[in-house]
Symmetry: D3
Subunit: 136 residues, 6 copies
């Protein structure tokens, strides 16, 4: 079993906010991330697939094709967007790094399955100091 | 003459938009950066001061003090904010990397002057691939 | 299960030395790291916790709180210190990257447990080219 | 069990090409990587060993010795080389990141075994955006 | 005057070789870089333009347009190529980092001039440890 | 005129302390950097030389030779050392990043002059967030 990772990036705005809570409780829980008028990040996404090497290419999966899939199914939908407003698959959900990572996994896993490769891990770096990993 | 640089960072949302233009012309000029609902970045700011070494410390200027000044006068005002809405010194102005850099210079230069040190350069990294430098 | 990592850093001096050995054997085993008058590093510490997303926040654990814990229990005690002399939890122990990592785990694990979150991994980068991981 | 990683690097030329295929099929499958006259990369190699801390050193394994082994058995043989032509252990094989990683593992594992340490993972970064991991 | 930099990258093979010299003198002068069968790098190119901010955009120059120009005039011609064989503007020339940088400047300067912006600097990173800057 | 930079690194311990001052004033001025038992850093040193390209090599100066010089005259003398105690050219001097940079310049400039190349800049990164540049 060999693991191949492709790194892509996107820039987006978001805020952390629980609509069932008072402004006070939101500020207390989410701190500066609850700023009403949004803030944003340069996100970096690492997508790892696993499999056996194919005898006629020496590839697990074509890294160029992996890039195309990540861009088509993720980056094109969330790059230069507001995660809370503009992104179909995040609608009505928390836009924490954790939940964004899980939802990116849910978007990519069936697509990669259909291409005959197993998704192993989605890693999302919100900043160089905070990142999340999800293995399904 | 010796040059000392301190690096700080902040996360913010913004959009590029000329209110005198049609939506069409804005999209044509600013592309994805004109997204109505904002996008954002992890900005990195490099502040360089210059001077002679002080005989009793071997410092040009205390790097810890430089950090405090950058945080007090810049980061505390723009970190986790919307540059177009929340930031006093960017009000009614373009929030391009260029204009943000020039305005950070204008905020810092008199403060540093008052502390007896010359501001040499403000460098602002909007992404790891786009950055701006201003020398006054 | 989702994994959240927070990165912090500290600067410290240390030396590698076995007091039961001759100077010759210490130099032979630890090389330049046995320099009598110490050397030092900019250490980077990655603390990974794991858990389920909380339904009212979308967090595994508050990354800001994680930062506060790492700083209070680790960085405040070892930043700008001599690991062999100044740090209570390293007293009389080897200050190798391996042993430092295991001891940071031992400091953090019960604190995080008490906050209701599982420590998954401590990763310590001694230099950009040498790092250690410990999973308990 | 503690994990220690050492990072080394090398620069090499290669091309991706299946000699059983037409030029057309090679270009279609491998894209720009099939350029007849080669291209190249700054490769970064991360070698992770695992074990228990030794009571008289606090080491899993001497990181300096690990560096010497990686250089002697890998870097000296492939640095500033053409992977398809000059490297004994890649002869007649695909020089994909996947296959190069597996072959580096095969070179290092018995050597490390003979030194009494378990090889855990070889990670090879072909570019900052594409990397492969192999655990045996 | 404000300075805007855009970073792009390309991967290429090359060798350093003076055809007027013996193999011995080439190996003595260029060391491993004279390997007959080539080696290669992940090059990073930083292109800096300078100018005044435009009153209707807050831009010196559109960074997206700058990226398109660098890709069209440089990266498309040298990415995944052999610098000694495949690249028109390096034909019969040394492919040192120095000479490659100067030739990239010569390619870009008139194109940027025609777009109304001044090229300030081309910086080329051959590896993370060796880079060249040229200001015309 | 073309500029060539070579990056090297070293790890060292130091403290900031003015022997003419009380402990109180030292702590007030230098903060945690005045810790009696030292602290340390992974320093990164960027040495930039300038010159014309040589017609028979395409080099300003051989980057491999530049590396040898930096290691022989700087890194071998300060790597894994205590800057305040072990380093001849820092004896009795402040070991601030500023003063260390100026002294590295003084060590390198005549050596490079003797080799027929002009030293342009020494840049010293004490941490990824604090660095100093000196141009003579």
């Amino acid at each position: 079993m060999v693991y191949l990772t492709r790194v892509e990036h996107f820039n987006a705005a978001h805020k952390l906010w629980n609509p069932d809570w008072s402004e006070e409780k939101n500020k207390e829980t989410f701190g500066k991330c609850a700023n009403e008028n949004w803030h944003g990040h340069n996100y970096e996404i690492h997508v790892t697939v696993k499999g056996e090497m194919q005898p006629d290419t020496g590839f697990i999966f074509n890294a160029k094709r992996l890039s195309v899939i990540i861009n088509e199914h993720i980056c094109d939908k969330i790059d230069h967007k507001n995660l809370n407003i503009d992104v179909e698959f995040m609608k009505g959900q928390f836009t924490t790094a954790e939940n964004l990572t899980v939802n990116i996994w849910k978007q990519l896993q069936p697509v990669l399955k259909a291409e005959g490769v197993d998704l192993h891990c989605v890693k999302l770096m919100e900043t160089p100091r905070i990142f999340v990993e999800y293995y399904g």
